[in-house]
Every structure is written in C-alpha cells, then in structure tokens.
C-alpha cells in the first residue's frame, strides 16, 4: 500500500487493520485540557497565499526583535554578535543535516566537525572528554544528574537554589518517574548558600551553576572537595559559555561533569531554540556519558580518519540499558558554535569575554549609584542582579513600551511564586550593547524610580 497520497479509504483500511475507530482515538492519551478546541484568534481558517503572507507579516511585526533597540535580556539566553561567516559556512551542502548520520563513517567531514567541537568543549570546560552535544543546557543538566546516579549508584541529588529554575524544572521532569530523590535548595539571590551541609553518603551529585542565575561567580574548589569527601560528584552548569573566556574552567575547580548552554557562540536567540547542550566529563566516566562521541583513528593505510565510538552506550545497541534515550544531538548548532569559536581564536575569545565583563561592570556601577538601587552580586561576569525600590516587572514593561528598551529579566518572571523577589532585576550586558545603550537604560531607569 502506498502511504501517500492518503485517501479516506486508505485511512479507514488502516484504522480497521489496527482495530481503532478514528484517528482521534489514537490521541486519547493526550489530556483534553490541552486540546485547542476553538479556532485560533485572528486567524481565518482559509485564505489565499498572498493574504496569508500579508496577515503573518502583520502578526510578526508585533514581535519586538532583540536587535530593535537596547537589549539587556539574559537569564540563560544571550545576544551576541554572530559573524556573517558563521551562517554562510553552516549552509554549505556538506553540512546539510541537523542529525548525526546513521552510516556515520561515510561522512568524514561531519565527523571531523563533531570531533573538533568536542575538543573545543573539553578545552573550554577543562575536562577530558566531551560529547557531540545534546539538545540544550537544561536537558544536558538533567542527563548529568542521571549519569551521576549511574556512576555513584546513589539516588540523592542536591540542586543549588541558584540553578536556573528552567534547568531545575527539567531535572525534576527527567527524574520524576525514576528512583531519584531531588533536593532543591531554596532560591538564593544573595549568594549565601552553603551546599556542603546538604551532602551525605547517599548523595550522587550536587548541581551548581557558575556564574549562577543571579550572576554570582564563585570558586567551586571547596564545594568540589566536600563532594569528593562524601563520594559524590560535582556537576557544574554554565548557562553563559562566554564566561569561560575569563573564569577558570570548571574542570580546574574539581568538576566531575560540566554541562552548558552553547547558544552564545554561533547561535541566535531565535525565540529560545534550537539551542546547544554542552556535556563534558572525566575520561573515567566516559562509558556512563550520554550522547554521541566522535573519535579520531587511522584507517588500514594509516591515514587519519574519524568514527563514532563507544556506541555501546547508546540506545540502538544497548536498548533499555542505554546511558540515555536522547542520542540526537544539535549537530548544526554545534557546527555554528565551532565556526564562531574558531573565527574568534583563543585570544579573540578571551578578548570577547573581557569586553563583556568590562561593559557589565560599567553599567552595574552606574545603576547601583542610583538612589534606592542595590547591587546583589559583588562578583559577576556579564550579568548582575539589582534590587530596585519598586517592582521590576512593571518597570521593565514601562521601559519597553515608552523607551523601546528591554531593561532586563525581572526575577518574578523566573520565580512567579516568590513574591519577595518582585523587586529584583537581572541585567545582562554583552559586546552588542553600545555606550548609547548604556546611557539610555541608565536614564530610563533613573527616570522611572
């Protein structure tokens, strides 16, 4: 039977064969509450192509692109300058797949790109081995938690209260139906948290973000030592990968697994995806690492070549014992990351990080000098948290409407259930912010206090 085109008779025949009376019956497991039962507002059910294009353009114009004015949004997604060469190179025909190939060794170029990417991630994080990427930072974080359970054969996981709440939610979702006990420390805007007291002999790992979601930068060495003394692993989450151009690599501070969001390099904000999960660990744990892994080898004639290696960890061989059910990576996003980082070079990357930090310090100093404004983060990279004398969400809304300035992410947006964080504002500054942007946001905030 041909599966295309599908006639009503074809559908009836297939439904009859599997003993189901309607296509809708196949989706019975989807809760009714999440169905869209009424037509979408403002969208006619039928229109010609020109009318559709016109209508969608009108709707799209209601979006406010990050580049349409001063933008200080961060909190896990960062606006950076992407060299035009990145987009031109990733569109070459040789790279035209978002997936790792299923007959991998025939695609030596793709495998080499993965290998170079892994090398870059390992160098940035200070770890021995990195995989060919995962979906995004949050899912990489959840995978790290599961991996720590396999390595230590323990079931208790401690999450820092300064881990990005979306990452925390992803960990909770991934562990919900597994034998894992997640202990999430209370939210900690002041950076006073001490996780050492939460460690015990049942702890598989501690997950801590650096810089944390409020921007605090820490030396994680003491925490790593405390973890290792209890036989637990330290998982370090990095949501702004550019910070690694200035801060010591987590591996140097004793991290056992480093997960990160790689969007900042090569990848646009793009409404939140597709993004790029970074995952690196120690070689001793490589067999418990999720995801694909490209390796360098030599062929029968001694020439350098690339393979997918240690595939017995993966679900197509290991079945239900696989280290992860996610074997798909973000190959195209990873390629963009590698091209951007290669264009920068080591010196350029360090310079970019220093520039981000310097601009953020300039803005933080100016804003903290405003009456009633307090800086919560004494040490930060390119993002800091302010306590304002009034609710931050209202101020952000007003500045967006009146001055076309996106002043930052109100903490209330990340922790809607925490009223006491209502006055906190997370402000990110990158190389894309001009002196004029800094002047404008200072003036605007001062004017609305």
């Amino acid at each position: 039977m041909r599966s295309l085109p599908l006639t009503g008779a074809d559908r009836h025949a297939m439904l009859a064969a599997i003993g189901v009376d309607s296509v809708d019956a196949l989706f019975r497991d989807v809760p009714e509450a999440v169905y869209q039962t009424t037509p979408l507002p403002d969208l006619p059910t039928h229109a010609d192509e020109i009318a559709v294009e016109r209508r969608l353009n009108v709707l799209a114009a209601r979006n406010r692109p990050a580049g349409a004015g001063p933008c200080f949004l961060g909190a896990g997604a960062y606006r950076h300058h992407l060299p035009a060469a990145v987009d031109a190179l990733i569109q070459r025909g040789e790279f035209m797949t978002a997936y790792t190939p299923y007959q991998p060794e025939i695609s030596q170029g793709t495998l080499q790109a993965m290998f170079e990417f892994q090398t870059q991630v390992a160098l940035l994080t200070g770890m021995e081995v990195a995989n060919a990427s995962l979906y995004d930072g949050a899912s990489a974080c959840a995978e790290a938690v599961l991996m720590a359970g396999r390595v230590t054969r323990r079931r208790r996981v401690v999450l820092s209260g300064s881990l990005h709440p979306h990452w925390r939610e992803t960990v909770l979702t991934a562990t919900r139906f597994r034998d894992v006990e997640v202990v999430a420390a209370p939210v900690d805007p002041w950076g006073h948290e001490s996780l050492t007291a939460r460690l015990d002999r049942d702890t598989a790992c501690v997950v801590v973000q650096n810089p944390d979601v409020f921007g605090h930068v820490r030396d994680l060495t003491p925490l790593a030592e405390a973890c290792h003394a209890q036989g637990a692993l330290l998982v370090v989450a990095v949501s702004e990968v550019v910070s690694l151009g200035l801060l010591p690599p987590p591996g140097e501070m004793g991290a056992d697994i480093v997960v990160g969001e790689g969007q900042s390099l090569g990848n646009p904000l793009s409404f939140g995806g597709p993004y790029l999960g970074l995952f690196a660990t120690r070689e001793a744990f490589v067999r418990q690492m999720p995801g694909r892994l490209a390796g360098a080898t030599v062929d029968a004639e001694g020439r350098r070549g690339f393979v997918l290696t240690l595939a017995t960890r993966e679900q197509h061989i290991r079945r239900e014992k696989a280290t992860s059910n996610i074997c798909t990576n973000s190959a195209l996003c990873a390629l963009a990351f590698s091209i951007h980082l290669t264009l920068l070079g080591e010196g350029g990357f360090r310079h970019l990080a220093a520039l981000n930090h310097a601009r953020a310090v300039t803005l933080a100093d100016r804003l903290a000098a405003l009456p009633g404004v307090e800086l919560l983060t004494p040490a930060f990279f390119n993002e800091f948290t302010l306590r304002l004398p009034k609710r931050a969400d209202r101020l952000v809304k007003r500045l967006a409407a009146r001055c076309n300035i996106l002043a930052g992410v109100p903490a209330a947006r990340l922790w809607p259930e925490h009223d006491e964080l209502g006055h906190l504002l997370l402000v990110a500054v990158t190389e894309t912010n001009t002196d004029e942007d800094l002047d404008a946001v200072c003036r605007a905030i001062e004017g609305s206090l």
């Binding site: 054969r153 067999r287 017995t312 061989i317 290991r318 014992k321």
Partner: protein, 132 residues
Amino acid sequence: MTTTRYTKEHEWITVDAPTAGAIATVGITNFAQNQLGEIVFVDLPPVGQDLVQGGEAAVVESVKAASDVYAPLDGTVVEVNSVLNDEPAKVNDDAEGEGWFFRMRIADPAQLESLMDAEAYGAYKAAHGGEA
C-alpha cells in the same frame, strides 16, 4: 571437591565446597565469549553488592554488542577481577580461567541444583547455536 555449574545465559560458577557462605567464582563461558567476539569492556559490580539469582550482575561489551551478565545464585559480591578493567580481552583469552568476573559469597547452595553440569551444558549449547 570442586563443583562447576552453568546457566542458560552462559555464565559459569565454581565453588570448592558448596555450603552456605562459601565463596564461588563467576564468569562467562568460552562459548559466550566466542559468540560475543572481541570484548572491549567489562562493567563489574561493586564489592558488597547483593545479588539475586537471575538478576543483573555485570555488563560485558564487545565490538558487536553489550550484554548483561546474570547472577547464577543469590549472594553477595566479595571480590571483582579488576584486571579486566585494563585487559578485557582476558575474557576472550581465558573465559573460564583468568577471565573470571567476580567472586560471591553464596547464600543458598541448594540453588546449584537448578543449574546445569558440564554435560548438560554441552547438550544445551549444541541445541542453542551449535558447538563453539
């Protein structure tokens, strides 16, 4: 008087005197290593782990596949063959000797009755995949 028995999953177990609390040695059979091909990794259980007869005890990876190794009897792991961490190919070279996986303290020697002796295992192999 050494007793050696075999499982349907192609593990062997050897014990000198089959009493409760006796120490038995466990590995995979020569037939199994031959079927698996070149062995590249053995994931051994931690010392102290409690085992249940028929439950997962170890994992053996070859270039072709990853396979579970099951506990032949109830008991507790008392020692693992850590040589296999660096030289997994020892399992190919000498599966029923130096390529042993772990030693366990057996809880119930009567369970040995449920396993096959050499003769029965030979017949079982012949019926399931031929001579090796």
